[in-house]
């Protein structure tokens, strides 16, 4: 096996095949009895408003969380190569990493103090 990524594709294909096959089978085997009420959204009989799919608004908190995630996740990913190569890099890497983490903490403290982490 030359490329270590190819076996991943095997497992991916198996998983996808299984999922498609079982959903497909249930489509064929399962009953189909049309009923307008059954096709409505799971509510008390009222159309949900605003329309969820392709419209409507969601609370801004979620965008904020997503953006904070991107910032902090990327910062944590920067620690990975550092951690893996730590035993080859020496004291220099340790000092630089501490500086980096301090910088992250500055941003983190700012976000916290300015209310970016409150959830209400």
């Amino acid at each position: 096996m030359t490329n270590p990524y190819v076996p991943l594709l095997f497992l991916l294909a198996l998983g996808a095949g299984f999922a498609v096959l079982s959903v497909g089978t249930s489509l064929v085997v399962g009953p189909k009895r049309y009923n307008r009420a059954k096709l409505e959204a799971y509510e008390c009989g009222i159309q949900p408003s605003p329309h969820a799919a392709g419209g409507g608004r969601v609370p801004i908190k979620y965008y904020l969380t997503a953006m904070l995630f991107i910032i902090f996740d990327i910062e944590s990913v920067f620690l990975y190569p550092f951690a893996v190569a730590f035993n080859q890099l020496g004291l220099f890497a340790l000092v630089e990493m501490v500086l980096f983490v301090l910088t992250v903490f500055v941003a983190y403290a700012y976000v916290w103090r300015r209310g970016g982490l409150e959830w209400d």
Partner: protein, 527 residues
């Protein structure tokens, strides 16, 4: 545990090697970024009442310390460092020093309070009317306006890195670091907020486009040369086999588009008037002066270090751009009725003048650019500071008709402004004249026929802009004053900024020799 298989071995990275960092050379940038981080902490933890004072203090101290470090330490420790990503050489240091001085003056003007609690030009909340209960509530809630100082420092950090970038990726990161805080600062105006927010959005969208152009161009150049380092690209241009020549010119053009956008060269100038008009006036001054310095520094490095070898291929386009920039900037400034738009078009024209010097392809050309940037930026800071002083009913009197007769009520302010306008026009005994001379002389000497033509166009355009400025001076001195327009009493901070800017304009016009000499001696790029 050496049980690594052969099949995997081909894809393995080599052993890690720590890069060498010349901390002395990059110390000014570190000080600036450290000051910015400190500012963020102050914003997070200092009590609201103290924040303004502490922030201004931190910013000023950081700038002064960075300047002192640059002058005393970094100049003796030039070199290529951080795995060739950062090049600290003559032009870089010269521009960084200029940027630090200019930003110091900008911070002083941004700190102007006109007797209020926080900086007068900035709003704590985009939706609140100046002086309204909402604004007071926003201030009480801790949405202070002192964030502009760390933002300015971050932007400055990017600007200092921009002309020192040794590879295209660092250059791109510097471009983003300098731009993002500016986008924010543009939208923070306290008065005429819709204009300000529109300006910020326009600047952001167009800036994002130009960044994309730059990045795409950098990708093409990387494809051509196999390296993002400017010196490697230069080597590839002279030695390449020619198979990939199709990538070179598009790459150069796209990268240049990205940079010319930042200096507001025609046809990439359309954002300039709107953004200059909408942004808070101290920020406009900062943008007009500092962004131009940084972006021209980057253009110089890219063009002189990376792309000089094939300049015959792309020079024609930039010549046309330079000519267009001068003509469009000066002609359109004739029709302006808003003082900030007028200064915006004048800054476009000035970008054209600087481009003429860039195209000389000579050490003297570099020196000319450096000197022009110093002269122009000091004058600009002082001019915009005065614009922020002249007010009617509390908000800036930015329409030209409101400036009528200012000379009768406020002779000193009007005189200083007139003097600065004369410098913009390039009248002898002002820095504008020496700067134009320093920019045009190398173009005449080394630019060949095109250089001569560009200089002719430049002189003609100077005449046109001189007409605009003289018209404004006439308006200030020889017409009836408008009711209610006053030049507000400013704090010592702004006074210092205006005084220093004006004095620099005068000194560089009368005894420019030392600065010219410094520009000449620091005009050599390390490759």
């Amino acid at each position: 545990m050496p049980a690594v298989t052969v099949s995997f071995a081909s894809a393995l990275p080599a052993a890690f090697q720590a890069t060498q960092v010349d901390y002395k050379a990059i110390a000014p940038m570190l000080v600036v970024f450290g000051g910015a981080l400190l500012g963020v902490l102050v914003e997070a933890f200092a009590p609201r009442r103290l924040r303004y004072l502490v922030q201004v203090g931190v910013a000023v101290v950081a700038l002064v310390v960075a300047f002192v470090v640059l002058v005393t330490v970094s100049v003796h420790d030039q070199g290529i460092t951080l795995a060739r990503a950062v090049v600290i050489d003559g032009p870089a240091l010269f521009l960084q020093g200029t940027l630090l001085a200019i930003t110091l003056l900008s911070v002083l003007t941004m700190a102007e309070r006109f007797g209020g609690e926080g900086p007068d030009a900035f709003t704590p909340m985009g939706a609140s009317v100046p002086g309204s209960p909402q604004e007071a509530a926003a201030l009480r809630a801790g949405l202070a306006t002192s964030e502009v100082f760390p933002l300015t420092l971050f932007s400055l950090g990017g600007m200092m890195l921009f002309p020192a970038a040794g590879d295209l990726l660092t250059m791109f990161i510097a471009l983003e670091v300098l731009s993002l805080p500016l986008y924010l600062l543009c939208g923070l105006a306290r008065r005429r907020r819709l204009l300000s927010q529109e300006a910020a959005l326009k600047y952001f969208l167009l800036g994002a486009f130009s960044s994309a152009f730059f990045l795409f161009g950098a990708a093409l150049l990387y494809g051509y040369s196999g390296s993002v380092y400017l010196s490697d690209i230069a080597k590839a241009v002279t030695t390449a086999s020619g198979d990939l020549d199709g990538l070179l010119l598009p790459g150069v053009v796209l990268v240049l588009v990205g940079l010319l956008f930042k200096v507001a060269a025609v046809p990439f100038h359309s954002w300039t008037p709107d953004v200059y008009q909408g942004a808070p006036t101290p920020v406009t001054g900062f943008m007009a002066a500092a962004t131009k310095i940084a972006a021209f520094g980057a253009i110089l490095r890219l063009v002189y270090v990376g792309l000089e070898a094939n300049r015959w291929d792309w020079r024609g386009g930039v010549i046309v751009v330079a000519a267009l920039t001068m003509v469009v900037g000066s002609v359109l400034s004739v029709t302006q009725t808003d003082i900030k738009r007028l200064l915006a078009y004048s800054s476009i024209a000035h970008a054209g003048f600087v481009l003429v010097a860039v195209l000389a392809f000579d050490r003297l050309g570099v020196a000319g650019v450096l000197f022009y940037l110093v002269a122009y930026s000091f004058t600009t800071i002082a001019a915009f500071a005065i614009v922020s002083m002249v007010r009617q009913g509390g908000s800036e009197a930015s329409h030209l008709s409101q400036w009528a007769g200012l000379g009768r009520n406020h002779p000193v302010v009007a005189f200083v402004f007139a003097f600065l306008l004369l410098a913009f026009a390039g009248i002898p005994l002002t820095s504008g004249f020496t700067a134009k001379f320093a920019a045009f002389a190398p173009a005449l000497a080394h630019g060949g026929t095109y250089g001569v033509w560009l200089v002719v166009i430049g002189v003609l355009c100077s005449v046109i802009t001189a007409f605009v400025y003289f018209r404004l001076i006439v308006l200030m001195y020889f017409t009836k004053p408008v009711e209610g327009v006053v030049a507000e009493q400013v704090s010592p901070l702004t006074t210092v900024a205006i005084t220093v800017g004006t004095l620099a304009t005068l000194v560089l016009g009368v005894v420019p020799a030392q600065v010219l000499e410094l520009a000449k001696s620091s005009s050599l790029f390390l490759r």
